[in-house]
């Protein structure tokens, strides 16, 4: 199929975005794999009480080789990959001067940021 130059440019940009998603997923899966392997080796049962999520503690837990450090990091990488794709898209659309898509990208990130703010404001709700 013959594409106009503008179409070709925007498609090339999407290929780059696809690579970002693939790399982010690979990082997340790798970290989760390490965490699960450490669980098995260390005899950590999934039925143990769920550890509280603490962003500050993750670094120390990874350094100490605790499974939950790698699991949290992997889960964060997995969850952060789609928003990272939107950030990448925003940069691409800004470079290409596509204002409607810049606005859409910013609006998506605003919705996600709103969810984070509301979740932090309302605290834990899981019994």
């Amino acid at each position: 199929m013959n594409r106009a130059p503008a179409d070709t440019g925007r498609r090339d940009f999407e290929v780059t975005i696809g690579r970002v998603v693939t790399v982010g997923t690979a990082i997340g899966v790798t970290l989760i794999t390490v965490g699960v392997a450490l669980m098995v080796v260390g005899g950590v049962s999934p039925l143990e009480p769920s550890p509280a999520f603490s962003l500050r503690a993750i670094g120390a837990e990874v350094v100490a080789g605790r499974p939950r450090g790698f699991l949290w990091l992997g889960l964060i990488a997995a969850i952060a990959t789609p928003p990272a794709r939107v950030v990448g898209s925003l940069i691409g659309y800004l470079r290409q001067g596509e204002r409607p898509m810049v606005l859409v990208s910013v609006a998506i990130l605003a919705v996600i940021a709103g969810g984070v703010a509301l979740a932090l404001a309302t605290g834990s709700g899981v019994g």
Binding site: M1, R3, A4, R11, E14, V15, I17, G18, R19, V21, T22, G24, T25, V29, I32, G35, V36, M39, V40, S45, P46, L47, E48, S50, P51, A52, F53, P67, R68, L71, G74, L75, I76, A78, I79, T81, P82, P83, R85, V86, S89, E98, P100, M101, V104, A107, I108, V111, I112, G114, G115, V116, L118, A119, L120, G123, S124, G125, V126, G127
Partner: protein, 294 residues
């Protein structure tokens, strides 16, 4: 067998069956974790958090491939995911207020709908293998390219400009407002039930919005990441994701879906489909019983 290996195995089975039948793993993971099939039972809220993570991992893996292969329509996906993300945000916040029994009833209804859809039309096309398409609805196959631009000479309005932006050579997106409403609904359903929402998005994009099926399936995969991530972040920050359960399950689903996507050409899914519908029916009854339990 230890519980972590059971979770890994359950995740592999969910990912494998889901991939072979064109479903995401979410519709199988939540019953697996809540109905005691692995020897323990989680509250639905916690199972939904685990399922959302699994859905993100598998959809991101395939979504990245579809973007690199230039199959997905990223602009259409991003416009719609603005509304799926909004719906997921609402659903993610409301989910913590919804009683477990109501969620079980909603999930039972979803299982029945999915089973009926499979019996009537075959693949649900959540994670449809875009390479299997026969090309009949390929964007390059001569459908007029009007890009949504008005033919009567008047300046284009906002909707028409957006339609022009998200249409591709070979097809023009139509019925954008209906697609937006459906996207919002899919987002709420995703956050409440831990599914990707492709079961809503793919048919709407294809049938209502005029997007070729292979593009709709690929675009849905790309969108699911943001849909699920919007509510998964809320679940994570509110303590609704247990890493010891989510890790093995997500890894299993990822592995199962990866194997399933390679086997799909070699397996006769007709028998599998009947078996799967029976599993869905059994699970729906169990979920309904949970909803009605005092």
């Amino acid at each position: 067998m230890t519980t972590d290996l059971l979770l890994l195995g359950g995740g592999i089975a969910a990912g494998l069956f889901g991939s072979l039948l064109g479903l995401g793993g979410g519709i199988l993971i939540v019953p697996l974790l809540t109905l005691g099939l692995l020897g323990f039972s989680l509250p639905i809220h916690e199972a939904v958090g685990v399922s959302l993570v699994s859905v993100i991992v598998t959809s991101s893996a395939s979504g990245g491939v579809y973007l690199r292969r230039r199959v997905a329509n990223l602009r259409l996906g991003m416009l719609l995911e603005l509304f799926t993300a909004s719906g997921a945000l609402v659903g993610g916040l409301v989910a913590f207020l919804v009683p477990d029994r109501l969620l079980a009833a909603l999930f039972a209804a979803l299982l029945v709908y999915t089973g009926v859809t499979m019996l009537r039309g075959g693949r649900v096309e959540y994670v449809a293998d875009v390479d299997r398409d026969d090309g009949a609805d390929d964007p390059a196959n001569g459908i007029p390219d009007d890009r949504g631009v008005p033919r009567d000479g008047r300046p284009p309005g906002l909707t028409e400009r957006l339609v022009a932006e998200i249409s591709e050579p070979g097809y023009a997106v139509r019925n954008l407002p209906r697609g937006i409403v459906a996207a919002g609904f899919a987002g709420v359903a995703s956050a409440l039930l831990g599914i990707g929402g492709g079961i809503v998005k793919v048919p709407v994009m294809h049938v209502v919005m005029g997007v070729p099926l292979r593009v709709a399936a690929a675009t849905s995969n790309v969108m699911i990441g943001i849909t699920a991530a919007s509510s998964a972040i809320i679940y994570l920050l509110r303590g609704g994701i247990d890493p010891y359960v989510a890790g093995p399950t997500a890894l299993g689903v990822f592995a199962g879906a990866s194997v399933g996507s390679r086997l799909v050409e070699r397996v006769d899914v007709r028998i599998l489909r009947v078996l799967f519908v029976a599993v869905l029916a059994y699970t729906a009854v169990q979920m309904a019983a949970r909803a009605l339990a005092s």
